[in-house]
């Protein structure tokens, strides 16, 4: 399912929608090295997020994984949170252990106007 910001036609999020049944590889024992997964994540974001270079240079990076290493998240977060907001603007991609794209977020456009 895709969530699009209609004010600028950018994708805010995509990922498995409600009721979906997507056969991602979730066996953590089959995981590629995390360095390789990170490189795949950055390659994807460079291709699909126009200013990812700026994001990478200015946002804080975090890497996370779920129990069992069923997936890995690569997240770049703004260093400050706009006043009154709960969630810090972020760009994130979630990959399966073998590098399939499971979900994507770029919520930055939701914070302007």
């Amino acid at each position: 399912m895709y969530i699009v910001n209609p004010t600028n036609n950018t994708v805010v999020q995509f990922g498995p929608g409600p009721g979906s049944k997507i056969s991602f590889e979730r066996n953590g024992s089959k995981s590629l090295p995390q360095s390789e997964l990170k490189a795949m994540a950055e390659e994807y974001l460079l291709k699909h997020v126009a200013d990812f270079g700026s994001v990478k240079a200015n946002f804080s990076f975090r890497q996370m994984s779920k129990p069992g290493s069923v997936s890995y998240a690569f997240r770049w977060e703004a260093k400050s949170k706009p006043q009154g907001e709960d969630v810090t603007p972020f760009v994130q991609i979630v990959l399966s252990p073998v590098g399939e794209v499971m979900s994507f977020n770029d919520v930055r456009s939701l914070y302007s106007n």
């Binding site: 999020q13 409600p18 009721g19 069992g68 979630v94």
Partner: protein
């Protein structure tokens, strides 16, 4: 997402007015905390993680008593051992969207079971892949008229009904209703 009004409502539930995103003149967002007054739970096997989830120190409209999330190992096969219900704080005659906050420390259940009650007595059985979301809202249901509650269990959702896989962690954290 820019807020035009934000306040903490009674009973540990937040009401936030949103701006003109998505071309809507205004919308209302209600965040229902696990453990709050609009939440009930039953069954066994509950685990909790402190200061984790949507409501944590420095984030969310909830008081410190709600700075935690809960999780439960999934029930394999049919049925469920643990259930929760989020009663919507505002039930009105408009279409609404519901979302679950999925964190990073738990929630690897790829067939999480949700049931949305709407339009008085209609129900929508939803399945959410919690493994694909990290510190983000995952959609439970869209465009449901007069949503009145969201139930969430540790069983398998309709898309994977009666799956025999066990040992997965089902996350129970905040549920958001946008009208």
């Amino acid at each position: 997402m820019k807020k035009t009004l934000s306040r903490v409502a009674p009973f540990l539930m937040a009401v936030v007015m949103l701006g003109s995103f998505a071309g809507v003149a205004s919308a209302q967002t209600y965040i229902h905390a696990n453990g709050g007054s609009y939440w009930s739970q039953s069954g066994s096997g509950w685990n909790s993680i402190s200061n984790d989830g949507y409501c944590v120190s420095g984030r969310g409209p909830c008081g410190s008593s709600l700075w935690y999330l809960q999780w439960n190992y999934n029930t394999s096969g049919c049925g469920a051992d643990a259930n929760s219900t989020y009663t919507m704080a505002s039930v009105v005659g408009y279409n609404g969207d519901t979302y679950a906050w999925i964190d990073s420390s738990t929630g690897n259940m790829y067939g999480a079971d949700y049931l949305v009650t709407y339009n008085y007595a209609s129900s929508y059985a939803s399945t959410v892949d919690q493994s694909a979301y990290y510190e983000a809202w995952a959609t439970i249901a869209l465009d449901k008229y007069r949503t009145s509650n969201v139930q969430h269990s540790d069983g398998w959702g309709a898309a994977y009904a009666c799956n025999g896989v066990s040992g997965l962690q089902v996350e129970f954290d905040e549920v958001k209703l946008e009208i």
